[in-house]
């Protein structure tokens, strides 16, 4: 004969214990799951080195998605970086790095190489650039490290440069890539940021020609990006629909680095 199990109504004590067991069981299980999720992310393999490198694969994906979100929803070329009176500009401009622009360079010999889409190359001299309308810009330069400084730069806007040298077709592509003459430092800029009205090819700092350590003879000043994108001593410019190589994006930083 089978034993009949008689179900008694649970006592309050038992109910409490059951719910307690269940709740803490779920709580513990979720805690363990969260912890293993974190372990997985922390030990996730690095991305395959390419245009970007040096970051855990899932984090790179997140950076790229976040870039798209902010590019589409918040970037607007009518949003200008705040400007200041010239008197507020720093007299001693902070200098962080010489990668790709060590030593001095002869401005008279220097030529800016521009690769056009039809394979043609322009070699533009310093005087040709200086002859273009000049834009002065006093803005708060921001470094990815967290410091910032109000600085005064002068040069030609990139948009004006494009117009003058007939690069309109090139400017329809997604990106512009800039490189130092020794190819030691290079940046990629999305076209909307490059054509932003405050993006300039600068040849003056505080009203004086650029010193060697600040990017002589011509450098990029782009207030909608962190300092890492403000390439010193431009040697060549090219245009592409794919992301051009970028020095710091290869070292784990966000490719976009937009402000």
């Amino acid at each position: 004969m089978k034993k009949k199990s008689i179900k008694k109504p649970l006592t309050t004590e038992q109910k409490i214990r059951r719910r307690e067991f269940l709740s803490f069981g779920i709580f513990g299980a979720l805690g363990v799951a969260a912890y293993s999720g974190w372990k997985w992310l922390y030990h996730a393999p690095e991305e395959a080195a390419g245009i970007t490198a040096g970051t855990r694969q899932p984090l790179r994906r997140a950076l790229n998605k976040t870039e798209l979100f902010f590019r589409r929803l918040t970037f607007n070329e009518s949003h200008l970086a705040k400007t200041y009176p010239v008197s507020m500009a720093a007299k001693t401009v902070r200098h962080n790095s010489d990668i790709g622009s060590e030593g001095d360079i002869d401005t008279a010999v220097w030529k800016l190489e521009v690769k056009k889409l039809n394979g043609q190359k322009l070699f533009i001299g310093f005087d040709e650039i200086k002859a273009l309308p000049k834009t002065d810009l006093v803005f708060d330069f921001k470094c990815v490290e967290g410091w910032d400084q109000i600085q005064h730069w002068g040069g030609v806007t990139f948009a004006e440069f494009v117009k003058h040298f007939g690069l309109q077709t090139e400017a329809k592509l997604g990106y512009v890539g800039l490189m130092t003459p020794d190819k030691g430092y290079y940046v990629g800029i999305d076209m909307p940021s490059a054509l932003h009205p405050q993006t300039i090819l600068a040849y003056e700092m505080n009203g004086q020609p650029l010193a060697a350590q600040h990017g002589k003879p011509l450098r990029l000043i782009i207030p909608v990006k962190y300092g890492i994108k403000n390439l010193k001593r431009i040697g060549s410019i090219n245009f592409s629909d794919r992301r051009p190589p970028d020095y710091w994006a290869e070292q784990g930083y966000d490719y976009y680095s937009g402000l």
Binding site: E13, I16, F27, G146, G252, G258
Partner: protein
Amino acid sequence: MRWTHWVNFPILGIMIWSGLLIYWANDVYTITIFGHTFVRFFPQWFYDTLHIPQRLSEGMAFHFLFMWFFALNGLCYVLYTLITGDWRQLWPNRYSLKEAWQVLLHDLRIRKTAPPQGKYNAAQRIAYSAIILMGAGSVFTGLAIYKPVQFYWLVWLMGGYHLARIWHFMLTIGYVLFFMVHVVQVVFAGWNNFRSAVAGFEVIDEQSKAVLNEKEKH
């Protein structure tokens, strides 16, 4: 409500840690009064113990992923309390300030009785509402530092880029201080209270008979 609380805990931890990795790259903040520096954020031993130095890019990558979870979780909490009307139990009322003082005296064993309370006492109302506002503050000061050109009006509201970064930093210090007091209070409040924060129910002994009191089903 319990869920968002416990989800927030690890996320905030990760945000503070990755924030430290970023802050290290420009660690300029001190508490200096009349030229004497009392606290320097942070001393070298602190960085070394936590393996902070030289990890800026890593910190940014983590920070800019978990910021989404932090903001969304906070939004869930706020929406939930608004929709259910639970915010009424939380938001301070006109008696809260006075009662909070009495609660403080009571907790410090100066006063014998605590004022009557609902789900939260007056001090809790103020503290827990403040922490939600602080969370929102972190999101907005963070946005201001993150995209200062696009959110120029936020930067302006914060009093400039420098101040926005300082607010962002101070709020974080605030969380750490809050956390310390919070944990001490939880320990004092005892097991029954902690169980309610995890399981969502509390046991109330009524005439020596335990009764299940479903305070919160959610």
